[in-house]
């Protein structure tokens, strides 16, 4: 799966978790830009991403995420 293919699927997961069908994400999107993206929904998001992409993350992986771009790159690394 290429990084370009990851993005639409990742956006769909974001829209589902944050209950916002109009949500648009870019690499620079951070928790500040998305309503209700806090520590509670963050792990809900991580679990949803793990399920959608069939990957598994560690706490260290999650602590290193600063924005959606980091998330996309992390998924690409795990999917490979």
């Amino acid at each position: 799966m290429t990084e370009a293919e990851i993005f639409p699927k990742l956006t769909a997961v974001f829209r589902d978790v944050f209950d916002n069908p109009q949500l648009d994400c870019s690499d620079s999107t951070t928790a500040q830009d998305v309503e209700n993206w806090d520590s509670i929904t963050h792990v809900t998001l991580v679990v949803a991403v793990e399920k959608a992409f069939g990957v598994s993350f560690t706490v260290k992986d999650i602590r290193g995420l600063a924005n959606v771009g980091d998330f996309r790159r992390l998924i690409a690394k795990r999917v490979k």
Partner: protein, 482 residues
Amino acid sequence: MSFLSAEFGIFLALGLLIFYLSPSQWRPRVLLGWSYAFYASWSPAGTVLLLFITLSVYLTARWIQGRSAESAKFAVTTAGVASLLVVLIVFKFNAWLSSPFQALLGDIAPGIRVIAPLGLSYYLFKAMGYLLDVYWEKVAVQRSFVSLALYISFFPQIVSGPIQRAGDFFDRFDGLKRPDSAEFVVGLRRILFGFAKKVVIADRLAVLVANTHSNPSRFSSVELLLGAYCYSFQLYADFSGVTDIAIGLGLLFGVRGPENFNLPYFARNVQEFWRRWHMSLTSWLSDYLFLPLRMSLRRLGTFGLALAILVNMLAVGLWHGPTWAYAAFGAINGIFMIVSVLTLKRRNAVFQTHPWLASVRRWTGPLVTFHLMVFAQIFFSVSLGSAFTYVGRIVPFPAVLHAGVPMLRLSWPLLGISVWTFAALCAGLVTMEAIHWGSQHACWRARFMSAPRYVRWGLYYASILIILLSVRTTVSFIYAQF
């Protein structure tokens, strides 16, 4: 030496003089020396513990960095964090553990009791966060012992926080340049605002709260309800006041600390409240407790989420001390948050299908959240037994009311303040929130700064005058005890 004492004023003035006259390469050492002198003024014995912990953390972090195997890094980090937790438990929880521990100590050194050193919870959380960040590679290992020691002991933050993250502190502290005059004035303004909140609002509300909370049986339901509201605002003005003073003091020395409050009583739900209240503690616990716990429980689905929230909120409560009331405060907030989180999607769906309700929700959300917090904070303000008595007397069950106390009575003389003082306090609270709100909006900040100098300085001097006229008996900062 309290921030509110005249001695501290002299100490600060001397510290600033020495700091600004020192060559730049000496300033970190000067600030460190001043921080240790400040801490020693509270607790000379505690200073030895502070130094010992700092040295241990410094060496442990270097040790983590020196390991190449992941398992070794993990083992060293776990041992380091666990040791700090043991120190916290021994000192803070010794009342619960006291029988065997105190008996042992009594045998070794009769007459000595274990008392938690000032600011222990704050600096141990900084130290633990630093070790975990080094392990998670979020922050580089500090080679300079002076920098690390200054981070842990920085005197504006050691009494009542805020709990600044290591990376944030080192980023701002690195190179420690002399703050420019504009930043210095911002710091002074912040200190002035903090003093105004503390002396003019919190300490006046404290008079009413001391009455209602010390003997609830003398008061009617309405008076106790008013006491509960007043405590919530006293706590807010007191704690955000000391945070303002801490941030302002930091700015005088060129270090900007993290914000601790963001209009918390306007939060639309419980989880939002905890993103806006004591932010440096809640974000610390989110990153270092909730996140690892929630990740390890994620296979348990909703139960795992609820359990992680409950444990996290219990930790928020017990961080304040080992009492059943703080545990109840944490548990109540945990239950509120679990219900709020688990029903959020369903509530959103209801409000989306009835758009006219959206405008109602804009008002009811903050109002309901505020009242939930007022209720929970009753458990924060008194012992567990007294909290139940207090709540029982607010709820109008005739059976629990004291004979001869009308339920709807509102006696200002009994409450200890006049109706005019109360009205002035309400005006003060509105002004405080308007300043908080305005300071978050660039256009209002710009408007204030573009006002003529005589207007701004006139306001500063008027504030100083109001503070001086308001000083009666100063109550210690509530959060200085943690």
